[in-house]
């Protein structure tokens, strides 16, 4: 039976889940006390490994394994919490930061203890004013209470936390861009390798983890990695927050066990599709994921099942569109987003996303040309040769292939929607 790992407190204490008093009354900072008094850093790291926890920021990389990449004996080390949530359709990290900031702070302190980081930076998306203010307060309170700062709970472990407010640039969610931004520059991604674990913030060894990823850590330390791994599927253990939006009757953030089929998720949690319509298309994991149609509704929501249909759970954002929707306008919306957020370093991305956006805009406007559909695929192929999944990459980061995914996937599944918007031969001849 699944238990709620992340959202129990905010559901049971909707009025004050974010306060230190409620956090402590519900067992908060107990895991930290236990860890610094009874466990070595290696033991904390081992529990996270045993949990099989995978990153919730998009790529799904095993967290314990990532921590193991830090080079031996190199200090200072940094832990950076990625709270830049900006992928269209995603709104879970904001909720975790607003409604349970202490859970994240405790998770970050525990993780810093495990990896030997002396300074934690929480990079919080700038527009999330409430999240930022509550995080600042949580950090102040934790420091005052001796959960952070020098000599944490008398253990001799020192850790400093800084909440850093970003300023509106989606690309800064990409981990290397985030580090560049945190160093005080324009948020430009860097080539990998070197990976942040080896050369990250200020060229020091750095772990970057997502807000949701780290919010799981207090539960894992308290209950043991094995208990976490017992939930979900073998390759996607635990629960996960899914952000459900679009044409469902009850959109929202829902923490569910991995492995639940999409159909059930839409029916039970989403309470069905609005106006009794049926699902036409859905995005299974954020703006970067290839789209699916109703034939995939019985697919379980697990990373391995999504791999098998060449898409992904990505950031956990599920956007549903009903049968009254022509998909081209929403596709244009996403591509416009990526074009706007391209940092401009790589030609295929800077030029390619602009082209794609312009072509889609004229199709939506009813000014498309028949050749445009092939042209779209051609430009996509220049960005990500072969149009496969996981995508081939010609650019520094994966923003560019992300912009191509909605296009090639919908041209395969919903080509009729594109054709429907093209002017007919008569219309072209008549010049209307």
């Amino acid at each position: 039976m699944a238990e709620l790992v992340l959202t129990k407190r905010m559901i049971e204490h909707p009025r004050d889940s974010w306060t230190l008093a409620t956090y402590e009354e519900t067992g908060g900072y107990g895991a930290l006390r236990q860890a610094v008094r009874e466990m070595t850093p290696e033991q904390v790291h081992d529990e996270v490994k045993a949990a099989g926890l995978r990153g919730r920021g998009g790529a799904g990389f095993p967290t314990g394994v990532k921590w193991g990449f830090l080079p031996d004996g190199e200090y200072p080390r940094y832990l950076v919490v990625n709270g830049d949530e900006g992928e269209p359709g995603t709104f879970k990290d904001r909720m975790l930061m607003e409604r349970d900031p202490h859970q994240l702070v405790e998770g970050a302190i525990l993780s810093a203890y495990a990896v030997g980081a002396e300074h934690v930076f929480i990079y919080c998306r700038g527009e999330l004013r409430n999240a930022y203010e509550r995080l600042c307060r949580a950090v102040d309170e934790a420091t005052e209470k001796g959960y952070a700062g020098t000599n944490v709970l008398g253990s001799g472990f020192d850790v400093k936390l800084t909440v850093h407010r970003a300023a509106g640039a989606y690309i800064c969610g990409e981990e290397t861009a985030l580090l560049t931004s945190l160093e005080g520059y324009r948020g430009w991604p860097r080539l990998k390798p070197p990976f942040p674990a080896v050369k990250g913030l200020y060229a020091g060894p750095t772990v970057v983890n997502n807000v949701e990823t780290l919010s799981n850590v207090p539960w894992i330390v308290r209950n043991g990695g094995a208990a976490y791994a017992a939930m979900g599927t073998e390759k996607s253990p635990g629960t996960r927050l899914f952000c459900l939006s679009g044409h469902v009757n009850r959109p929202g953030n829902y923490e569910i066990e991995l492995g639940t089929p999409f159909r059930e998720f839409f029916d039970r949690w989403g309470q069905g599709i609005r106006n009794g319509e049926r699902v036409k298309a859905f995005i299974p994991g954020g703006a970067s994921a290839p789209w699916l149609d109703a034939s995939s509704l019985d697919l379980p929501m697990s990373m391995e099942a999504l791999d098998s249909v060449k898409s992904m759970l990505g950031s956990g954002a599920v956007v549903v569109m009903d049968e009254t929707t022509n998909v081209v306008r929403p596709v244009w919306n996403l591509v416009h987003f990526f074009a706007h957020e391209s940092c401009g370093q790589c030609t295929p991305c800077r030029e390619g996303t602009t082209w794609l956006q312009d072509i889609l805009a004229r199709i939506v406007d009813g000014r498309g040309r028949r050749e445009d559909l092939d042209l779209l695929l051609d430009v996509c192929d220049n960005i990500t040769p072969g149009l496969g999944w996981p995508p081939a990459q010609t650019t520094i980061c994966v923003l560019a292939p992300s912009a191509a995914a909605p296009i090639w996937s919908t041209l395969r599944l919903f080509r009729d929607d594109y054709e429907e918007l093209l002017p007919t031969a008569n219309e072209v001849a008549a010049g209307v």
Binding site: M1, I11, G126, L128, G187, G252, E257, W269
Partner: protein, 202 residues
């Protein structure tokens, strides 16, 4: 003439700079300090920031202008950011935006004549479950229907943002409406999926 950073502000700014292993990291926090008070970042303040962290004013502008939150010209008293992202668009946010602009007689990115509101259409605001989402001075209002936007802003003009936010803002909304109910129903039964089974036997 005294600058932006003096007295208490200077102390706070110096503390920000000291918070980071390298002073340049304080550039966004300092820009936020200025914008938080003035609603935009004037040139003189950029010069002061440059001095505080030991870089040139051109570097401050060059970095700051990469980030869409920073405004370099005077704005209205309140910044209204309507989400144009995919989920909000599916729920009609583009209509909502258009109606607000028409009602106040301004263009996109414009400011009303009385200086009360400036408008922008923004990328996904991380509130897609409450689409269409609107932020006023970065405070969230969710489920703002195309017909409700104008009324919301007129109420803010009349009663003040704090009052209206306390009544109707996102922080007063229940969390994931229905989450409790769905949870009470218990965990989803595991339905085996043919593809998953095939994988498991591979």
């Amino acid at each position: 003439m005294s600058g932006f950073f003096d007295g208490e502000r200077l102390t706070a700014a110096r503390a920000k700079v000291a918070e980071y292993p390298q002073p340049r990291s304080a550039i966004l926090p300092l820009l936020h300090m200025v914008q938080g008070e003035l609603g935009y970042v004037p040139r003189d303040a950029m010069r002061e920031i440059a001095d505080l962290i030991g870089i040139t004013p051109a570097e401050v502008l060059g970095t700051g202008s990469f980030y869409t939150m920073f405004k370099f010209e005077k704005m209205g008293r309140h910044l209204v950011s309507v989400c144009g992202g995919i989920s909000c668009m599916l729920m009609g946010s583009h209509d909502l935006y258009r109606r607000m602009l028409d009602h106040f007689g301004v263009g996109s990115l414009g400011t009303t004549d009385d200086g009360e509101f400036s408008f922008e259409l923004v990328e996904c605001a991380a509130a897609c479950g409450g689409a269409p989402a609107v932020q006023v001075d970065y405070l969230f209002f969710e489920n703002v229907g195309a017909d409700d936007g104008v009324e919301l802003l007129e109420d803010i003009r009349r009663l003040g943002l704090d009052t209206v936010y306390a009544e109707r803002g996102s922080m007063t909304a229940p969390l994931s409406p229905g989450a409790e109910e769905a949870l009470a129903a218990g965990p989803a039964p595991k339905t085996a999926h043919p593809r998953a089974e095939a994988e498991a036997t591979d």
